[in-house]
Symmetry: C2
Subunit: 240 residues, 2 copies
């Protein structure tokens, strides 16, 4: 799988994420920030080579690769469920129930790390996966937060309840998000762009929380909703 972009490479190196090879464009070897990236790559002993722009473009099928394409091997490395034993106290888990849009997923990854969430969970089926577009939209932050793929979201919710998590579904409800105590071990479930959280998954949640809206608007973009809820959790956990 090929991923691309300068920020993406920086985050890969930051995260010491293992890759097969890094391809730099051969047309910008003298560019200053570019030289620094190559130095960083050398310093961390990553394998790299140079290639013409049109070869890079063919690898990733986009022109805005910024002169950097990274071969990260067969698939993005998801974590497994044993991570639940290693989460810190007062952890935050973000569960995405069948999100479809890579831009939404990428933006949610970015917000999750920024709001100090500790794990993102997606279902194996009917969900966007971590693709090169998702990684690009996440500005490479997908390499810095654990992402877990599970067979069954409902069963996963039961599992984390046993680990002491309180699970909130983002849905129409009388519980206003900023009037709800979101400290401690907490998970939020965000639903599909069109249809929201599936009924079966919703029934597993401890409570539903809602963002009050004006002008009879029914819902927000899911990445925006997730951002609002995640930063409320972050604020409350910071003791504000």
């Amino acid at each position: 799988m090929y991923v691309y972009g300068r920020n993406v490479l920086k985050e890969i190196i930051n995260a010491h994420y293992p890759v097969k090879n890094i391809y730099f464009t051969d047309s910008k070897k003298t560019d200053k920030t570019f030289k620094e990236l190559i130095e960083l790559t050398k310093k961390h002993k990553y394998s790299f080579s140079f290639a013409p722009d049109n070869v890079l473009q063919k690898m990733v099928n986009v022109s805005k690769h910024q002169g950097v394409v990274i071969d990260i091997g067969k698939e993005f490395k998801y974590v497994d469920e044993t991570i639940l034993n290693n989460l810190r106290e007062n952890a935050t888990i973000v569960i995405l129930d069948q999100i479809q849009d890579p831009h939404n997923f990428g933006a949610i990854i970015r917000s999750s790390l920024a709001a100090d969430a500790n794990l993102i969970v997606i279902p194996k089926d009917n969900s966007v996966e971590v693709t090169s577009t998702v990684i690009k939209v996440s500005v490479g932050l997908a390499f810095r937060i654990p992402i877990l793929k599970v067979t069954n979201i409902s069963r996963f919710i039961e599992t984390i309840k046993k680990h002491g998590f309180w699970v909130y579904g983002a849905d129409m409800s009388h519980n206003i998000y900023y009037e709800t105590n979101l400290t401690g071990n907490v998970a939020i479930v965000m639903g599909n762009e069109g249809s929201g959280i599936r009924e079966k998954v919703k029934s597993k949640c401890d409570a539903l929380i809602s963002i009050p809206m004006a002008n009879n608007v029914e819902s927000l973009n899911v990445a925006v909703s997730a951002g609002i809820l995640l930063f409320e959790i972050f604020k409350q956990k910071s003791g504000r």
Copy 2:
């Protein structure tokens, strides 16, 4: 300009927005929600006709038109600056300084109406405009909130200051958004996806406000940031 989608048509009718013609697919005339849409169109005396799917597809260049294409005439109807004389007390203005991505713009329109903002402002140059993609992403809400295009953002900020607005730029700052009083007549300025607010525009702001972030993440997706700030303003103005 052709726009498309069922929600988009609903919002056009809700807003009594004048259009040239509405084209329905001729393949779904018996579909229930579809019939209701046609009834609504008749009731509000909009002109409409039927056309084959492939004709609709050619008009909008996408396949997911949901059987509804609307010809809204030459250009989307922006408001003019006289709107400033008709804003309510304690109004909220959203100023977008050279946003490029139609998905971001559409999501911000949706959040703005949902958070009870009263006006969205974009610059004439180097900015995404209200296109059919923007309208689709806004789920048609672009027809329900005034959008103004100005030649010069800096000068516009000077104008609204005279109208009693306090102008906040979203940028790195020591002023944390939820510790800042955002009631009264308030405007927020959101910057370009890559480079943020231009220096000249920033210098016109009364203050900068910032969303504190963990893990050295430098910024969020601009639609997410806008959503977080807009819903903080909405919350404060609701007296919570």
